[in-house]
């Protein structure tokens, strides 16, 4: 597999820069739009890896559906003004936190540099997938046979998340009453 370094570093750089903007941005709207950009660059990287289905789904589901929901919520809540002020943290704490993060980053860089590129080659090479009927078919077949359990479990997880969201949101009415 050969990935064009130009596109890889391009997408990777955009993803990191936009991810930083998400957490550093002052207004929720600009954070949300930076997040869209992060999702798009991820989709680009997935496409470079020959995972076209995932790339398309990334754009449909994340950049499309989920982000539209985000932005709707921000609009409806009118959360344009920052509602909380964290204040300035102590300088010492900032220095300690910064150096720990930097050290962690260095450890990661070291680990990835030291690791020889002998990643185990699984059976899912582009040629094999092509022969078996393409990306979409292979993914869907795997999902409903070998990975059935995690797939079904994810739907249970989503159901639980919906109930949880209802449980939190519903009681806002009760709170207003009392």
């Amino acid at each position: 597999m050969n990935i064009s370094p130009f596109f890889f570093y391009g997408f990777g750089g955009i993803a990191i820069a936009c991810a930083l903007l998400v957490i550093l941005g002052k207004s929720p709207v600009s954070s949300a739009f930076s997040l869209v950009m992060v999702f798009f660059s991820f989709a680009g990287i997935y496409a470079l890896l020959d995972a076209h289905l995932i790339a398309a789904l990334q754009i449909f589901v994340y950049a499309g559906a989920i982000m539209v929901l985000f932005i709707f919520v921000i609009m409806l809540l009118n959360a344009d003004v920052p509602t909380f002020d964290l204040g300035r943290t102590h300088l010492g704490i900032r220095i300690v936190a910064g150096s720990i993060s930097l050290a962690t980053l260095l450890i990661f860089i070291w680990a990835f540099k030291e690791t020889p590129l002998t990643a185990p080659v699984a059976q899912f090479t582009p040629e094999n997938i092509e022969a078996a009927g393409g990306n979409t078919q292979v993914v869907s077949e795997l999902m409903f046979s070998e990975y059935l359990l995690p797939f079904e479990l994810t739907s249970v997880l989503l159901l639980a998340a919906i109930i949880g969201a209802v449980a939190i949101a519903k009681r806002k009415l009760a709170a207003g009453r009392s």
Binding site: I107, F108, W110, A111, F112, E114, T115, P116, T118, A119, P120, V121, A122, Q123, F124, T125, N128, I129, A131, A132, Q137, V138, E141, L142, S145, E146, Y147, L148, L149, P150, L153, T154, V156, L157, L159, A160, A161, I163, G164, V166, A167, I168, K170, R171, K172, A174, A175, S178
Partner: protein, 501 residues
Amino acid sequence: MEALKTIQPDLLTLSQDQFNCLVPYFTVFAGTCLSILLSVWGAIKAKWPVFLVASLTCLVAMVNSLVLIQGTSQSLFNGMMVSDSYSHFFNLIFLGSALFTIFGSFRYLDEEKMQHPEYYVLVLFAALGMMLMTSAQDLIVLFVALELMSLCVYVLVGFRRNDRKCNEAAMKYFILGSAASAVLLYGAALIYGATGSTEIHSVLKFVQDHPQSLNPIFGLGFSMVLFGFLFKVAAVPFHMWMPDVYEGAPVPVTGFMTTGLKAAAFGTFVRVLLAIGYGKGISSAIQSHLHDILWVSCALTMLVGNFIALTQVNLKRMLAYSSIAHTGYLLLGILSGTRSELGFAPGVMYILIYSAMNLGAFVILTLLSSEGDSKLNLHDLSGVARRHPWLSFAMSVFLLSMAGIPPTAGFAAKYLVFYSAIQANEIPLVVIGVLSSAVSVFYYLRVLVYMYMRDPVGSPPVLRVSLWSGLAIASMILITIEVGVLPEQMIDLAKRVVLSL
């Protein structure tokens, strides 16, 4: 290279045996769905039906697991999960913890004006997540089950929505918990990248077959998974979230967290540690690193938990720190599991006994708390024994058991853990453990002093103990004393359970 085979027909059907093994999981899921339907059925008042369905579900699933605990181990879904004595033993703990949490919460929710049927649904979902988590053999299933459990508990922690402290606790837990999940997930991804598999036995096989290819990435992924687990069990230095969360959450939820959540994290931890070859199978370099990390964490956890608990006046906070201390003893049990004759049995037994006594103590705290979880400071307990001799007696049994005083179950459990640690030649840790355990007696006994030897302040109302809470307390007392007097049976069970791993 042979052609890609993606559909494996044998994976598409479940044999009768496999189906039988899944019955507890199906039962809990069916019960949960039924509870959801009942809670939205406008024609009825959902409180009673949902409560009964949820309790019955737990009971039925417990009976199923009790039957299956005798059975042989059965690999399911292409080895993604396994049903063996070990997983069903833990299922019993989770379901019991869910059942008694439900029992203990029933009147509490009425009194706190939080009687929403979603509460029971979320407890059931969390129990399902825990059950799947300890049965998982695959890092993907493990992660999804972990998230299922955590998501429900985040919501339960913030269930008293109008309370500032409660919201703060939920928010803190949500953010820190998500960060820990992310660390765990990233670690799993790195392990996958280094070994080409998420199935924990294949990971071990790869590591054994290619000892020279063990690279820093694998080590990094492995440590991240380890840190994720240590966060979930709240071992020092990953314990900072715990006291605030435990204090802010509604009392029964705190009880559920200290028992179910902790048992789930530990149960999975032991399974993963063993499956990746802790004790045998992987190189001694990794062994000793792993040992060192756990050693430091274990020593710190025992010390920090016990010494900070000394200064607490709020009972919930005190039990939170004592729960950190017990995490230390559990880690000691795991640490010495590979080099003692009893293996991991003492650790596994400790989890069960700790769950029983802690659950009982929290059911009593639930009864004692008044509006908004106030009145849980030490001096509010002054003279409780005069008004409620039985409640005070039960509380004393649980506290003495936590302190490890015979003839309660806590003594048997602690004795076994320390005994196996001595066999494993962890003398310094045992010294730290015994000394800090002696320190812990002080803060457990102080509660007793307040209950029995102080005069009551003012004239607090007499509490009514509901049938359900009474039932929960009585069963926990029964386990605590029964195991304390006759630990033999429990040890045998724990041994058999660990052997099935």
